[in-house]
């Protein structure tokens, strides 16, 4: 296998593990392409998933992330490229010989089997001895805190319980890779948060390599060791959540991961790797690599997160002026929607502390906005 291009800007992380890469890698995809008729679902995708890592495939629906999961599972075969699991070539190995565990969005529990039979299914297929099956099923049910429900049928369980059973069923075979396909989208908000925490705990405890597919960027940010942002069949960026959030490589990643304000700013100058951008009276440093070819004095799009803006205090450099259109109480903080001409969409989102947000910035109030950071990211206008 040639060295896959892991996304240009996370090359450093790849380099560090290169010497004995195969030994450290649980899943390797090399130049994988998958077409459905005339549409290309995945276009020459290469990806390395480290052993024990929780890798999230994040992207809008139809971006190819589920196709990628199905290729790793063996439910689909690629047109070209190679797939390896644990260093073994798996490209044309059928799903049932891949030793993977998968949990579907709807859990896909076998409706005609009780909980114990569902969880023990993979062990029966491996012809494990009865006593051993009973022991491992009991262990798995204890792990997911469902001991005592062995005889229930799936339809007698709540959504959260069904999910736990599906997880136990996938884990009990000690899979080389655990694949999760939008596992939390069917759960209500409170349950979702607690299941996410629990999943992460279990994943850490067992150290099982996990590939997690989601379109929910906050889920991706909170759960992942690394995130692969996918759009139109290609990996746009690969890196730890913080890097993807704070150093997006392109406009798509910047706007898909997290809330972002796009403000019209002016490029003042480029000094090597750093460029200076002027927004009103404020100055901010941005990496110059995303501004290749932009001339000094030209207009660029400055991407700023809502929490990186604040109401300008007396004497602070004002970046933009606007009028509060609405405030939205969020418990810990207040979201201010401000009509500001400097914003590409005409509207800016500001995240301010609860006490000042509620009283000072009512709808209709004039507000001057300052930058709370001195570094941001800018792109050439689309």
């Amino acid at each position: 296998m040639s060295l896959p291009a892991e996304g240009k800007y996370s090359a450093a992380a790849t380099t560090a593990t290169r010497p004995n890469r195969t030994a450290d890698m649980a899943v390797e995809l090399d130049g994988v392409t998958k077409r459905f008729g005339k549409t290309t679902a995945l276009d020459d995708v290469s990806l390395l998933v480290r052993r024990g890592e929780l890798m999230t495939l994040l992207g809008p629906s139809g971006c190819g992330k589920t196709t990628l999961l199905n290729l790793v599972a063996g439910f689909l075969m690629p047109e070209s490229g190679e797939i390896a699991i644990d260093g073994q070539r798996m490209t044309d190995v059928p799903a049932y010989r891949r030793e993977i565990g998968i949990m579907f969005q709807n859990y896909a529990l076998f409706p005609h089997m009780n909980v114990a039979a569902n969880v023990g299914y993979g062990l029966r297929m491996r012809r494990v001895a009865k006593a051993e099956i009973a022991r491992r099923v009991a262990d798995a049910l204890a792990l997911i805190k469902l001991a005592g429900l062995e005889d229930r049928k799936p339809r007698q369980l709540s959504g959260g319980q069904q999910q736990r059973v599906a997880l136990a069923r996938a884990l009990v075979i000690r899979p080389k890779v655990l694949l999760l396909d939008e596992p939390f989208s069917a759960l209500d908000r409170n349950l979702r948060a607690s299941m996410q925490v629990e999943l992460k705990e279990i994943q850490r405890k067992l150290g099982v390599t996990t590939i997690f597919v989601t379109h929910d960027q906050s889920e991706a940010l909170s759960l992942s060791d690394r995130i692969a942002v996918i759009a139109e069949g290609r990996i746009r960026q690969l890196g730890p959540p913080d890097e993807v959030y704070r150093r997006p490589v392109d406009r798509f990643v910047a706007s898909f991961v997290g809330d972002v304000n796009v403000l019209r700013a002016r490029l003042e100058r480029i000094d090597g790797a750093i460029a200076t951008v002027a927004l009103g009276a404020a100055r901010v440093k941005v990496p110059s690599r995303t501004l290749q070819g932009a001339a000094s004095g030209s207009i660029v799009d400055l991407f700023v997160r809502p929490e990186e803006l604040r109401p300008a205090e007396h004497g602070a450099a004002v970046a933009a002026d606007g009028i509060v259109a609405a405030q939205s109480y969020q418990g810990g903080h207040v979201d201010l929607y401000v009509d500001a001409p400097a914003a590409l969409s005409g509207r800016v989102l500001l995240r301010v502390p609860r006490h000042e947000g509620m009283s000072l910035w009512r709808a209709g109030a004039r507000i001057s906005i300052a930058l709370a950071v001195d570094e941001a990211i800018a792109f050439k206008p689309a």
Binding site: F75, A95, E99, N106, Y121, M125
Partner: protein, 272 residues
């Protein structure tokens, strides 16, 4: 604004209408049932005196006994063969894309629009050409063709309602294709298979028009035997046979419903 009829009145009218329709549907069965208990040797309604004698006569009549036995043989083979063939075709239609798929579907469902006597006549001519007009094989083959659409439909609907992710999950857990089939697909298809088989069996056992062409005296099925009987006699033993038939069929359907949730399968849900 015109006054609307009151709620209770509407409800009453609705109840009367539904009862009338149900009554109309059940009327023939009711008349035949009453006629079967008539002690006199004519098919009259309502009976003047009551008796079980026609049941005894019907059960003892040789042609009916032979017809019943022939019917069981033909029905058993025909619906079982139709089940296997229909399930295989349903699986192919559901799982695979191929050329002439629509054509195959149309051909398989065509017996629904081709009159039974056409099918019967066709098989008679064919069997005469092949010199096999005197055996069960031709009746069974004829019945398979006639009941196949019903089996196909029943299994196909069950397949469409089967979540493909269940099979994927099984495969991911290490089940090779044949074990996915035996541990997941088939068990979940049982209601569809059972109801398909039962439909086929009821239709086949009942089938008269085509059977008239392809049976001979020795192989005649019960409906054909009844027809031959009614050409000669008109006593209530035929009504007695009908009553027994209704009771047996209703019992079978009820049992199937209890054990396999037939109603769920028959409740023809649109495919996903």
């Amino acid at each position: 604004m015109p006054r609307l009829p009151s709620q209770p009145l509407l409800r009453l009218l609705g109840g009367v209408t539904v009862s009338a329709i149900l009554g109309f549907l059940l009327l023939p069965a009711l008349v035949v049932t009453l006629a079967a208990f008539n002690s006199r040797a004519i098919l009259s309604f309502p009976p003047e005196a009551w008796s079980w004698r026609w049941f005894a006569k019907a059960l003892a009549y040789d042609d009916f006994r032979a017809g019943f036995r022939n019917g069981l043989i033909v029905t058993g083979w025909a619906s079982s063969i139709a089940l296997v063939v229909g399930a295989a075709f349903a699986l192919a239609l559901d799982r695979y894309e191929f050329r002439f798929k629509r054509t195959l579907e149309t051909v398989l469902l065509s017996p629904l629009v081709v009159p039974h006597f056409t099918v019967g006549l066709g098989f008679l001519i064919l069997a005469a050409q092949l010199g096999m007009a005197r055996g069960y094989a031709v009746i069974v083959a004829c019945h398979v063709v006639l009941v196949l659409p019903f089996v196909l439909r029943s299994v196909y609907i069950s397949l469409r309602n089967l979540d493909p992710r269940l099979e994927l999950a099984a495969a991911s857990l290490g089940a090779p294709p044949h074990r996915v089939l035996t541990t997941v697909t088939l068990p979940l298809l049982v209601p569809g298979l059972v109801s398909g088989w039962m439909f086929a069996a009821i239709l086949s056992f009942n089938e008269f028009t085509a059977s008239l062409f392809v049976t001979v005296q020795r192989t005649q099925t019960l409906p054909v035997a009844l027809y031959n009987y009614v050409r000669e006699y008109a006593d209530p033993s035929m009504a007695a046979i009908s009553v027994m038939y209704i009771v047996v069929t209703a019992t079978l359907l009820t049992l199937a419903n209890v054990f396999f949730g037939l109603a769920k399968v028959l409740n023809v849900e649109p495919p996903r």
